[in-house]
C-alpha cells in the first residue's frame, strides 16, 4: 500500500497527458524530425512510469492490465512484420516500400525544393514507426510493472 505524497500524485496526473502527447508527436513525425518509433515509445513509457511510481500497486493494477500490455507489445511486432510482408503479397521484395507515391495513406510524393516537410509522405515508414512505438510503449511499461509486482509479492 506504499505510495507517494499527494503533491507527487497530483504532479504525475498533470504531467501525464503532456508527456504522452509529446511521445506520440515524436512517433508520428518520425520520418521528418529527429526521433522515431523507439524514441517516442520510450517517451510514452516514461509517462506511464511516472504514474506507476506515484501510485500504489493496488491502484496501478486497476489502471493498467498486464495482459493488455502484452497484447499491445505483440500487436506492435505483428504490425511491423505485416508491413514488411505486405510488399511480398503484392509481388515486391521483403520490406519494399509499397505505399510510397501510391496516393493513398502516407502516399503523397515528396515536395521539391526546401520545404518544412509534409506529414503525408514516406509510404510505410510512418506505419513502421507507429508499430515500433506501440511495441516499445507496451514492452517498457511491462518491464516496470513486473518489477513492481515482484516487489509487492516479496513483501506479502
Amino acid at each position: 500500500m506504499m505510495r507517494m505524497s499527494k503533491i507527487v500524485r497530483t504532479c504525475a496526473d498533470l504531467m501525464y497527458p503532456f508527456v504522452v502527447i509529446f511521445g506520440w508527436y515524436v512517433i508520428m513525425h518520425g520520418h521528418l524530425t529527429p526521433g522515431g518509433g523507439f524514441q517516442g515509445g520510450a517517451v510514452v513509457a516514461t509517462g506511464a512510469a511516472l504514474v506507476i511510481v506515484a501510485y500504489s500497486y493496488q491502484e496501478i493494477t486497476s489502471m493498467l492490465k498486464k495482459a493488455v500490455l502484452m497484447v499491445q507489445e505483440s500487436t506492435g511486432l505483428l504490425l511491423f512484420i505485416g508491413a514488411g510482408l505486405g510488399g511480398m503479397v503484392l509481388g515486391f521484395p521483403f520490406f519494399f516500400n509499397w505505399l510510397a507515391n501510391s496516393g493513398s495513406l502516407f502516399g503523397m510524393s515528396v515536395p521539391y525544393g526546401p520545404n518544412p516537410g509534409e506529414l503525408n509522405t514516406a509510404g510505410f515508414l510512418p506505419l513502421m514507426n507507429i508499430a515500433v512505438g506501440i511495441e516499445v510503449w507496451g514492452g517498457l511499461t511491462l518491464v516496470i510493472l513486473y518489477l513492481l509486482s515482484g516487489l509487492e509479492k516479496g513483501e506479502a
Partner: protein, 84 residues
C-alpha cells in the same frame, strides 16, 4: 564562444552531479541526482548535434532508469546506514 561556455557548464554540472550521487546518504536523493546526470548527458548530446540520441537518453536514462531505482528503493530502506 557561447557554445564553448555551454560545454563547460554542462560538463561541470556532470562532474558535480556524479559526485553528489556518492555524497548523498538519502538513497532517493541519490537516485534523483543520477537522473539529473542523465538529463545533463542528454543536453550534451543535443549540443553535439545528435538530437535523436538525446531523446533516447532523456527517455531511457533520465525517465525509466530513475523510475526503476525509485521502485527498487521501495523494497529496501530509504537511508543508507553509516559505516557500512
Amino acid at each position: 564562444m557561447i557554445e564553448m561556455l555551454a560545454h563547460i557548464l554542462v560538463l561541470a554540472g556532470l562532474v558535480i552531479s556524479a559526485l553528489l550521487v556518492f555524497y548523498f546518504r538519502d538513497l532517493m536523493a541519490a537516485a534523483l541526482a543520477s537522473g539529473f546526470f542523465s538529463f545533463l548527458i542528454s543536453l550534451e548530446f543535443y549540443i553535439l548535434q545528435a538530437p535523436d540520441v538525446a531523446i533516447s537518453q532523456a527517455g531511457i536514462g533520465a525517465g525509466l532508469t530513475t523510475a526503476i531505482f525509485i521502485i527498487a528503493i521501495r523494497g529496501t530502506q530509504r537511508y543508507e546506514e553509516a559505516g557500512k
